[in-house]
């Protein structure tokens, strides 16, 4: 399957590593931009893995790590030693013929190498530079280190999830990374549009933790409007009932979030007698313990998929709680050919999540990562000739 060429003619130099930056450029690569990933000879993308034992190197493990291969499909790759004059010169020559350069180092890293926006601008006055360190490039935290977990914490989001007697509760191992990556893609597209129209490049930055504020804006707005944060209620809601996860056969679970009275009527119809005694929303919230018990009695006699099918048939928002290894076989994703199985040297066939938008019925996406990297990695270990 060939890539679409919507962004044909745009070239991006990608100095980013890990999850967020590479996801940002993956979106543009999926839409047809040429993305040239530049890895340091001295420190390659840590998403390849960290081990670096002789056995690891001999087995080409740097080429095999699924997260790395997912984030870096459709890109070209080269290694440069940016601490040396020749490596820097090559990077600047590349930037001179590109539209965007993007990086997600800690804020102090590139300036120390003498590589920053002002320098790039000298070789390409209309370059767009996107910098995406954890907390942005300005402010007292600009040099702070952050993982995707740190940015979730710093954004205050954990105060909006979990039970009242639990500590503020995180909802992902690295929530900030994917969201910052999407924002990086959006930022590039907006800046490219301005460049296209006016010929003006610019410096762009984003803070991963600020990127998470929209995910917590219901809480931020409540604080701003009422002076109080929303209470943490575990799986309950102040605005709907039933609302929770319920046990099914085979230790599986189903999430049900009844959003309105029409859905509640559907639920009553499916479950029948045992929930007939519950009335309007206020009554259901009042007697939520009893209501949850009645629903759990019904769900626990069914598989999660059976329960989901029956409830959805009646118009109720219900979803089986999948495990990570079930996602590839999800019927919806299968029917929509969401997973693209692509061959890659050293690993064979791997599923890739397609870009989650389609034009005219087709997903934008997707070839696997194009280049073999073994030679560049070997050069790294033999001392990096640049």
């Amino acid at each position: 399957m060939s890539r679409p060429d919507f962004l044909r003619g745009l070239r991006i130099v990608d100095l980013s590593m890990g999850w967020a930056g590479p996801l940002a450029t993956r979106h543009l690569a999926d839409m047809g931009a040429e993305v040239i990933k530049v890895e340091s000879c001295l420190r390659f993308d840590w998403f390849r893995g960290w081990e670096a034992s002789q056995r690891w190197i001999d087995a080409n493990e740097a080429e095999k790590h699924p997260p790395f291969n997912s984030m870096n499909r459709n890109k070209l790759d080269l290694t440069l030693d940016l601490s040396r004059g020749r490596g820097r010169d090559l990077l600047l020559r590349l930037i001179a013929i590109s539209d965007v350069v993007i990086e997600n180092f800690a804020a102090s890293v590139l300036p120390k190498l003498g590589l920053e926006y002002e320098v790039f601008k000298r070789v390409k006055p209309e370059i767009v530079m996107v910098s995406m360190p954890g907390f942005g490039t300005t402010g007292p935290w600009r040099d702070y280190r952050a993982y995707g977990s740190t940015t979730e914490q710093a954004a205050g989001l954990p105060h909006l999830s979990g039970h009242p007697d639990s500590p503020p509760t995180m909802v992902h191992i690295a929530l900030g990374d994917a969201v910052a990556g999407l924002n990086g893609a959006a930022a590039m597209l907006v800046a490219l549009r301005h460049l296209r129209r006016t010929g003006q490049g610019q410096f762009v930055d984003l803070s991963h933790s600020e990127c998470l504020f929209p995910l917590g804006v219901h809480g931020i707005a409540e604080q701003a409007l009422t002076g109080c944060a929303p209470p943490r209620l575990g799986n309950r809601s102040r605005y709907s009932a039933p609302h929770g996860s319920y046990p099914c056969l085979n230790e599986a679970w189903i999430v049900v979030q009844v959003q309105n009275e029409r859905q509640w009527a559907g639920m009553r119809q499916v479950i029948g007698e045992s929930v007939a005694r519950f009335g309007n929303l206020a009554d259901r919230i009042d007697r939520a313990d009893d209501l949850d018990d009645a629903i759990a009695t019904w769900t626990s006699e069914r598989s999660a998929d059976e329960a989901m099918a029956a409830l959805q048939e009646a118009g109720v928002a219900a979803g089986a709680v999948r495990q990570s290894n079930e996602l590839i076989d999800d019927p919806q994703l299968k029917a929509r050919a969401f997973w693209k199985f692509m061959e890659r040297e050293f690993v064979g066939e791997l599923p890739h999540a397609a870009a989650p938008y389609r034009t005219g019925g087709n997903h934008s996406a997707s070839n696997g990562p194009r280049r073999r990297w073994a030679s560049t990695i070997a050069r790294f270990w033999s001392g990096c000739s640049g």
Partner: protein, 383 residues
């Protein structure tokens, strides 16, 4: 008149009125596009979303609607004729309308605006067995497997608070729509374009890595307790004297430095604990030790000292504290959104920053239908 923003000259029509469409449109509006909300007489569904301002009635009371709708126009429209007038020259139409404003078909749209992109954001997309399923944020988070990681071992999976799936889909839809707008301006694609964005599929950005790892035979992650994630330890939130401290110590050197910071040097001599997975096995014991030290200190102070020792620590500000965090104050992360009935409300600004053509900070929210006459007159439609 030009807006001066990066997306000046782009016109967006939102017929749909849900959160994802609202956030997608917001990113256009904040960067200078003209975004018109084409609302049914009772207003968009976002106007009925909590939180509400005390003493203000729906359809003007919603804080969510205010956040999503600053810098947009509100037009009440129930006639196809007016809708067609409004759509003339539009770059983007977000369909799946509600009430009397039925979504236009792309054929009709092509007559009045031949190069417009039509964007449909729905829970599960335009096809497949779940196409007509009712969706919610929690349902998406269940089906993507994210919440299988959340909660006590063996207990009910925890549903995160808020609208993560819808916001993420709105951002994804913005990327998709901007890609098409840019493709037209680059001369790469002039054909009719109907974008199909599934909120469920957009949410898979949070779990695709786990799914592909699982496919490659790696062990799957499942829930093992609040703020515990295999195989990183410590990764969590601890109570301090004055608030909460967020901790992540992944590498051996981060672990060693974290122990030194808390005066727990003896733990660095336990060879087993050089491995994150072994620490996780003893998480209950280690949590008690960490908590006993952390609680004597100030979170702000520990985070600052930790960061100066190069470990990723952070305060975990409450909603109340968030507005006063020095980093966010310094960067102007919040700005006033103003509404005739709500007054000025401090809300987050667009998170990515273009320094030559900055996004609008805050902005004005229209009451329901406030811009109807002006917009219809401007579009050449009779009122």
């Amino acid at each position: 008149m030009t807006s001066g923003g990066a997306l000046d000259g782009i016109r967006v029509l939102d017929l749909s009125g849900h959160i994802a469409a609202g956030y997608c449109g917001k990113l256009f509006a904040d960067h200078g596009a003209e975004v018109v909300l084409v609302e049914p007489p009772e207003g968009f569904p976002t106007r009925r979303l909590p939180p509400f301002a005390p003493g203000v009635e729906v359809p003007e009371a919603s804080g969510m609607h205010a956040y999503l709708s600053a810098n947009k126009l509100s037009v009440v429209c129930a006639r196809q004729r007016d809708l067609r007038a409004l759509a003339r020259g539009a770059s983007l139409v977000i369909d799946h309308g509600v009430g009397d404003c039925r979504p236009m078909q792309i054929e009709t749209l092509a007559d009045v605006s031949p190069h417009a992109v039509l964007l449909s954001i729905t829970w599960f997309g335009q096809g497949g067995p779940y196409k007509n399923f009712a969706g919610s944020d929690g349902v998406c988070q269940a089906l993507t497997s994210q919440i299988d990681w959340l909660g006590e071992s063996g207990g009910p999976p925890l549903i995160p608070g808020g609208y993560h799936a819808q916001m993420t889909a709105g951002l994804t839809a913005f990327i998709a729509a901007m890609g098409q707008v840019l493709a037209r301006e680059l001369g790469n694609n002039w054909g009719p374009s109907h974008l199909d964005v599934s909120i469920f599929e957009a949410s898979i950005c949070f779990t695709e890595i786990e799914a592909t790892r699982a496919y490659s035979g790696q062990p799957i992650r499942t829930r093992i307790g609040v703020n515990r994630f295999r195989a990183i330890y410590p990764l969590g939130i601890y109570p301090c004297r004055d608030g909460w401290l967020g901790v992540t110590a992944l590498t051996p050197s981060q672990w060693e430095t974290f122990c030194r910071l808390l005066g727990l040097e003896r733990l660095t001599r336990v060879e087993r604990y050089w491995e994150s997975l072994s620490r996780l096995e003893d998480a209950d014991i280690l949590d008690a030790l960490i908590a006993s030290r952390v609680r004597e200190h100030s979170a702000v102070e520990l985070a600052r000292r930790g960061q100066s020792m190069r470990i990723p620590l952070s305060i975990v500000p409450t909603m109340e504290q968030l507005f006063d965090v020095d980093q966010y104050v310094d960067r102007g992360a919040f700005a006033a959104v103003t509404h005739p009935d709500l007054g000025a409300v401090q809300l987050p600004v667009t998170p990515f920053r273009l320094y030559e053509v900055p996004a609008k900070r805050g902005g004005r929210v229209s009451r329901l239908g406030a811009d109807t006459d002006a917009a219809l007159a401007g579009a050449g439609a009779s009122t």
